[in-house]
C-alpha cells in the first residue's frame, strides 16, 4: 500500500554532524556513533547545555558570503548538489524551489559597530551617526529569511513555484508544499532544501535553562532518548536537500518515494503526542518502523510511544536518528527523508545510540542494529512552539 501524496526522490544531498554523504552517515549510525561533543562553535562552559552536535566542515568559498551566512550557504550547497545528482530534466519555469528555514538567528556580531558607540545615549539620538551608518550596506540582507532561497533560485535558474517556510517543522512544510506543486502540475521537479542550527547562543540558552537540552558534562554521560533516565536532547544542525518528481516522470531514476505532513497544536513548548500520532496516522500505510521525535524526556517519550502504538501497533520498531546526529530543528524532515531511505535500501536499521536501559512501554526501541526487509518507514519531528512534522519514506 502506498500513500496518495507521495512523490519520487531523484536526488539528494546533506551536511550533518556525522558526515556529508548518506552512506557515510548510515555507516556511523549503524555503528551507534554519536556526534555530540563539547560545543565547537563558541565557549559554552557557562551554559547549562555545553554539548552540541555540529557540522565539522565549512561551507565552500563562494561569492554569496556577502549575503548569506554559514547555514544558508550549506543549504545552497546541498540544494545545488541534489539537483545535479537527480538528472531531473525540468528547468526554468518547470523547476520549483521550496525552502524550509528553521528560524532567524540574530547576527549579533554584525551589530557591534552600532552598539559599541551607543553607551550613554539613552534616547539613541546619535544612533545613526554613531552606529547605523557604519553598518555594511548588506547587513539587512544577512537577516532576510529567504536570502538563501533567492540566491539559489538565481544560481539554478529555478523560475517555477517557490516559497520559504519557517519554524521547527519547516522542512516538512517545504516538502508538503513541493508535493502539492507537483501534484497540481505546476512544476515538473521541485527542489526542497532545509537548514537549521540549534547551536546558537540564544537557542542553547533557552533549551538549556528549560531543561529540554542535555546538561551532561561529557558525551559519554549523555543518556539516550527512550532510555528510562533520558535527560534532554543534544542540539544539532544540518542542511539537506531532495529533488522530488512525479513517480511517472522519475521512472528508473527514483531512489525513494516520500510523502509529508506538518501541523501545530498550539503548545508553547513541544507538540503533544496526540499531534505526532495524528501525523503518523495521516501518512502511515501499514508501516512498522518509525523514527521518533526522541525528545529525551521520560514523560514525553512514554507519551509519544503510547500515542504511536495506537497508530502503528505496540510492536512497531522505534528508531531515534537524532540520538546520533543531534536534534536538527527545521532540517529534520528532509534529513529523515534521506537517511531512512538509505537505511531501507541497505536493509539495516540503526540502533538508538547510547540506549542502555530502554524505558518500559509499547513500541520496540532499537538497542542494536538489525537487518530489515521493510520497504517503508515513518519519520517524526517535534519542535517549539507546538510544531510537528512527519515524512513517510518508501524505497522501490
Amino acid at each position: 500500500m502506498t500513500h496518495a501524496g507521495r512523490m519520487a526522490v531523484t536526488g539528494c544531498s546533506l551536511r550533518t554532524p556525522l558526515g556529508d554523504d548518506a552512506a557515510t552517515v548510515l555507516r556511523r549510525l549503524l555503528a551507534g556513533e554519536r556526534a555530540a561533543a563539547p560545543n565547537a562553535h563558541f565557549d559554552a562552559s557557562t551554559y547549562a547545555c555545553r554539548l552540541a552536535a555540529t557540522i565539522p566542515s565549512a561551507p565552500r568559498p563562494t561569492k554569496h558570503r556577502k549575503f548569506v551566512k554559514r547555514m544558508g550557504l550549506f543549504g545552497m550547497e546541498v540544494g545545488a548538489e541534489a539537483l545535479a545528482r537527480s538528472g531531473a530534466p525540468a528547468k526554468g519555469a518547470r523547476l520549483g524551489l521550496f525552502c524550509g528555514y528553521g528560524g532567524l538567528r540574530a547576527h549579533w556580531d554584525d551589530l557591534m559597530p552600532v552598539l559599541e558607540r551607543q553607551t550613554g545615549d539613552e534616547r539613541a539620538t546619535g544612533a545613526w551617526g554613531q552606529g547605523f551608518s557604519l553598518l555594511h550596506p548588506f547587513w539587512m540582507l544577512f537577516h532576510l529569511s529567504n536570502n538563501a532561497h533567492a540566491l539559489l533560485s538565481i544560481d539554478l535558474g529555478a523560475k517555477g513555484d517557490g516559497t520559504t517556510t519557517a519554524g521547527s517543522n519547516a522542512g516538512a512544510q517545504a516538502l508538503q508544499a513541493a508535493i502539492v506543486a507537483l501534484a497540481t502540475d505546476r512544476v515538473d521537479a521541485a527542489l526542497v532544501f532545509a537548514y537549521d542550527s540549534l547551536v546558537e547562543p540564544e537557542t542553547l540558552l533557552s533549551l538549556g535553562t528549560s531543561g529540554a537540552a542535555t546538561a551532561a558534562a561529557t558525551p559519554a554521560a549523555i543518556v539516550a532518548p527512550y532510555d528510562e533516565r533520558a535527560a534532554g536532547i543534544v542540539p544539532g544542525e544540518a542542511a539537506a536537500a531532495v529533488v522530488l518528481e512525479r513517480p511517472e516522470d522519475a521512472g528508473e531514476r527514483a531512489i525513494s518515494f516520500v510523502s509529508a505532513a506538518a501541523t501545530a497544536d498550539g503548545a508553547v513548548d513541544f507538540p503533544s503526542p496526540r499531534a505526532l500520532a495524528s501525523l503518523a496516522s495521516a501518512l502511515s500505510a501499514d508501516d512498522t518502523i518509525v523514527d521518533g521525535a526522541a525528545l529525551a524526556s521520560p514523560t514525553r517519550d512514554a507519551a509519544e510511544r503510547a500515542a504511536l502504538a495506537g497508530v502503528l501497533g505496540p510492536s512497531a520498531t522505534l528508531l531515534a536518528l537524532t540520538a546520533s546526529t543531534g536534534h536538527l530543528g527545521g532540517a529534520t524532515a528532509v534529513v529523515q527523508a534521506i537517511l531512512l531511505a538509505e537505511a531501507l535500501r541497505a536493509g539495516a536499521l540503526p540502533p538508538i545510540a547510547g540506549l542502555d536501559r530502554p524505558a518500559v512501554g509499547p513500541l520496540r526501541p532499537l538497542v542494536r542494529a538489525e537487518e530489515t526487509r521493510a520497504r517503508s518507514a515513518l519519520g517524526l519531528s517535534a519542535g517549539m512552539p507546538g510544531l510537528a512534522g512527519a515524512v513517510r519514506v518508501e524505497v522501490p
Binding site: 552598539l115 559599541e116 551617526g129 547605523f132 550596506p137 537577516h143 533567492a150 513555484d161 519557517a166 512544510q173
Partner: protein, 425 residues
C-alpha cells in the same frame, strides 16, 4: 460535485490609517495618505525619517485589551508584556487584525479547527536587550546574569506572532509560516486558498503582520538604500516620474478564508472569491527585479489562467508598486504586456511598504472594489513616467465596478506571487 472554492468572509487590518479595517478602507476611499514623521523612536539623525507608522506610541497589554475581541485570559496580556513578548509591534498588530477578522466573519466554536497561514517579517532584535549583553567589545549571552528572563531571541522569534494568534483564538488546525520577505503575505493567502481547494482545510485564518519601524529596521533599510531619501510624507510616489524609493510601513491584515459552500451554508457574508493565485521566481539578481518583468508577468498570467479567466476579465491591478526605479518599470512592463490599459494603483504611497505584510494589506485594500465599487488610488502620483506606460490611477480612488482584481507581491531575490480576487455572486 463542483470544485472547491475559497472565499473571504472576514477581514481585519492594522495600518498607518489606524486600527481596524474600516480605518484602512475609509482612508483609501478618501484618497488620503497616512505616511508621516516617525514617532515611535527618535529618528531625527536617520536619513529616513518618515514611515507609514501605525498611530500609537506603544504596543502592549493595554493595546491588546482595548482591541481584543478575543479570548484573552485575565492577566494574560500583562504577563506577555512583562515577559517582553509584546514589544515587537507585529505581534500585537497580528493579534488585533486576527481578532477583527475572526469577529467580522462571525466565527465561533464551529470554526476552531481552522488552520493558520501567516506571513511574517524579520525577527525583531531590541537594542536594549543587546545593550544588556554587551561586555566590552563582545556580546555575551550565557548563563546567570547574562541570560535575561527567557533569553533574548525567544522574546521575538520569527513565529511568535503565529503562536500567539493560534493560542488566543484557540485554533487547532495546521500552521504554515511564510517568510518569503515582501511576498510572504500574498503567499500566505495563496497557500490558504490552496488548502481550501484541495480539501486540506475548510477554514483558514490567513494574512500577515510586520513592523520594521524601529531603529534596526529603518537603519538597516537606510543602509541598503531602498527608502526614498526625502523625509517628507510624499516620499513614496509609485510609478511617478520623480519616484526615488520606498517608504517603510507597518501593520497587519488578516482574513478568514473558507470553502464557499460551507460559508454559504452558515450564512456568512462573502466579500470576495479567491479565484486564482500563482507564484514564480525571477532567478535573476538578489537586489533587482528581472528588468523585462517576464516572471512577474508569468505569475499574473498563471493566476488568471488558474481562475479560468482571460486577462480582459481583470478590471484592476493592485501593483506591488514600491516607488523604486527598477521595480516600477519592470512591473509596469509586465502589466502592460498582459492587461494593456487596465486601471492600476499602488497603495504604498499611502500606507508605506509593509514588507512581509504588504501583500496582505493590499489584498485588504482590493476588497474596496467589491464592497464600495472603488479602486484605490496611488498617493502622490502626479507625473506619469513614460517608462511605466500603464493606466495609473491618480491619488483619488476611481469609482468603477469591476468583477475581478489582481494583486501582486514581489519579494527579495525575485519571489513573485499574484492573487486574483473575484466579486462574490
Amino acid at each position: 460535485m463542483g470544485a472547491r472554492r475559497a472565499v473571504i468572509t472576514g477581514v481585519g487590518a492594522v495600518s498607518a490609517f489606524g486600527v481596524g479595517y474600516d480605518a484602512l478602507a475609509n482612508g483609501l476611499a478618501a484618497g488620503k495618505s497616512a505616511v508621516g514623521p516617525i514617532r515611535s523612536f527618535d529618528a531625527r539623525t536617520f536619513p529616513t525619517r518618515v514611515a507609514g507608522e501605525v498611530p500609537l506610541d506603544k504596543t502592549g497589554a493595554s493595546f491588546l485589551e482595548k482591541h481584543r475581541g478575543m479570548l484573552l485570559h485575565v492577566g494574560e496580556a500583562t504577563a506577555w508584556e512583562d515577559a517582553g513578548l509584546l514589544r515587537d509591534r507585529k505581534v500585537c498588530f497580528g493579534l488585533v487584525a486576527a481578532a477583527e477578522a475572526w469577529r467580522h466573519a462571525r466565527c465561533g466554536g464551529a470554526e476552531r479547527k481552522a488552520s493558520l497561514s501567516i506571513g511574517l517579517g524579520l525577527e525583531q532584535a531590541f537594542l536594549e536587550d543587546l545593550a544588556e549583553q554587551l561586555d566590552g567589545d563582545e556580546i555575551r549571552i550565557g548563563a546567570g546574569d547574562l541570560a535575561g528572563p527567557e533569553g533574548v531571541r525567544f522574546r521575538s522569534r520569527v513565529d511568535l506572532t503565529a503562536e500567539k494568534i493560534r493560542a488566543v483564538i484557540g485554533l487547532s488546525g495546521r500552521v504554515a509560516v511564510h517568510v518569503s520577505a515582501c511576498a510572504a503575505g500574498g503567499m500566505a493567502v495563496a497557500h490558504a486558498a490552496s488548502w481550501i481547494e484541495r480539501g486540506a482545510a475548510d477554514v483558514v485564518l490567513c494574512g500577515a503582520a510586520d513592523s520594521m519601524v524601529n531603529p534596526l529596521g529603518i537603519g538597516g533599510m537606510s543602509r541598503l538604500g531602498a527608502p526614498s531619501p526625502r523625509a517628507e510624507p510624499s516620499a513614496c510616489r509609485p510609478f511617478d516620474r520623480r519616484r526615488d524609493g520606498l517608504v517603510v510601513g507597518e501593520g497587519a491584515a488578516m482574513f478568514v478564508v473558507e470553502e464557499e459552500s460551507r460559508a454559504r451554508a452558515r450564512g456568512a457574508e462573502i466579500f470576495a472569491v479567491i479565484a486564482g493565485h500563482a507564484t514564480t521566481q525571477d532567478a535573476y539578481r538578489a537586489t533587482a527585479p528581472r528588468p523585462d518583468g517576464s516572471r512577474a508577468l508569468a505569475a499574473m498570467e498563471r493566476a488568471v489562467r488558474r481562475a479560468n479567466l482571460r486577462p480582459a476579465d481583470v478590471g484592476y491591478v493592485n501593483a506591488h508598486g514600491t516607488g523604486t526605479q527598477l521595480n516600477d518599470i519592470a512591473e509596469a512592463k509586465a502589466i502592460r504586456a498582459l492587461f494593456g490599459d487596465v486601471p492600476t494603483s499602488s497603495i504604498k504611497g499611502a500606507v508605506g511598504h509593509l514588507m512581509a505584510a504588504a501583500g496582505a494589506i493590499e489584498l485588504a485594500a482590493c476588497l474596496l472594489a467589491f464592497t464600495r465599487d472603488l479602486l484605490p488610488g496611488t498617493a502622490h502620483f502626479e507625473e506619469p513616467d513614460p517608462e511605466c506606460p500603464i493606466h495609473v490611477i491618480g491619488p483619488r480612488p476611481l469609482a468603477k465596478r469591476v468583477d475581478y482584481v489582481l494583486s501582486n507581491s514581489f519579494g527579495f531575490g525575485g519571489q513573485n506571487v499574484s492573487v486574483l480576487l473575484g466579486r462574490p455572486r
